[in-house]
Amino acid sequence: MKTDDLIRALAEDAPSDTGPARNRALLLLAASSIIVAIVFVLLFNLRADLAGSGAWPTLRKLAVTLLLLGAGARGATLLMQPDARLRDALIWLAAPIAAILTLIGVDVALNGNANLGARAMGATALQCLASVSLLSLAPLAAFLYGLREGATTRPDIAGALAGVAAGGIAASLYALHCTDDGPLFVGVWYGLAIMLVGAAGWFAGRRILQW
């Protein structure tokens, strides 16, 4: 086929101007989050003291997990543009990292540094890992599907950021259940869970976001 012939065929393939692809990807992320939230409410019970003494520790955790969600979603959708700069896509990750480090710093300053290992281990580490990774699967799949419409030149990083966003959703939900409140626990186990999901996104992105 001559190139001019191909151009004729392409021109005849009517445009599908359906608005920004980014919005569709975010919509898929939001819709899948709602479904996972329903599943979460059915499978997990909210912590009993959520409205009372548990409110503040829960909010602390939510601050970190929602920042992760924001940084991941922003970075991944930014990378839908092939000319996006990697730095601009990654810079927002500094916010959740700064938040958790601050919380850990305050905790050590207030409560001393005795038993750091035990405080980090908590009582529900494996449950946290398993729940957050499993709850993130559907949002990760849906978000990656939406990101396919983009033209990223870094499928691996875009996939990992999608994993961070999906992990952020799962961790935000799980935070409403989890009673392990120590910032060290949150840093280690929520962090590890998010990294697992990010790694899954990395590998999935390399396959799925190629074009």
Partner: protein, 195 residues
């Protein structure tokens, strides 16, 4: 000194105008103007051809694969055009797409990585004529019979989707869907080819 500055200004202005021009063309194309879209794609083909040719030459390759690479770039621009954010400048977007596809094409042909210098050279305003050494059937051969007939009727015989629909006993919408699917297929075949 003033002269130099004037020259720089002039140069900048021309570049800005060019950038606007391609972006405006894409905006019109997305709004449904297929004549402008065809013109835009011809510009893109020229730019991609210039870059691809110099890359192949630098590697001591003939131009045998040149039009394959150009067509792969065109298909990528076409299938990803909906992802372009219309408030962002078009030229850098286009440059990134072309670069990505050229790097891909070189790697797949085992012609090695593309150096930073070469990347900077991609998308100069160079224009080159298409190479003729290109077999019509080679690109289309990978499609099943019916989509191949539809693409051939539109691309080579230059008929509209409505006319093709009448000939094939399909409605125009179905022809467009089949065409779109066939183009996606072509892009996938280009990607999968390891020759």
């Amino acid at each position: 000194m003033t002269k130099t500055r004037e020259k720089t200004l002039e140069h900048t202005r021309i570049e800005v105008r060019e950038e606007d021009q391609l972006g405006d063309m894409m905006r019109l194309a997305l709004a449904g103007n297929s004549a402008v879209y065809a013109d835009l794609l011809k510009e893109v083909a020229k730019l991609a051809r210039g870059s691809a040719r110099s890359m192949l030459r630098r590697r001591g390759q003939s131009d045998a694969d040149l039009e394959d690479i150009v067509q792969e770039v065109l298909l990528a621009v076409h299938l990803k055009r909906g992802a372009w954010d219309k408030v962002r400048p078009f030229r850098p977007w286009l440059g990134a797409i072309v670069r990505h596809k050229l790097i891909d094409a070189m790697r797949r042909r085992r012609l090695g990585d593309v150096s930073v210098d070469e990347i900077a050279d991609i998308l100069p305003a160079e224009t080159t004529a298409p190479s003729d050494a290109h077999d019509v059937e080679r690109t289309l051969a990978c499609l099943p019979e019916r989509p191949r007939a539809i693409v051939r009727a539109i691309a080579i015989e230059g008929r509209s989707a409505a006319q093709v629909g009448a000939d094939f006993g399909m409605n125009e919408g179905a022809v467009r869907v089949a065409l779109h699917r066939a183009l996606k297929d072509l892009a996938a075949r280009f990607r999968g080819r390891t020759e």
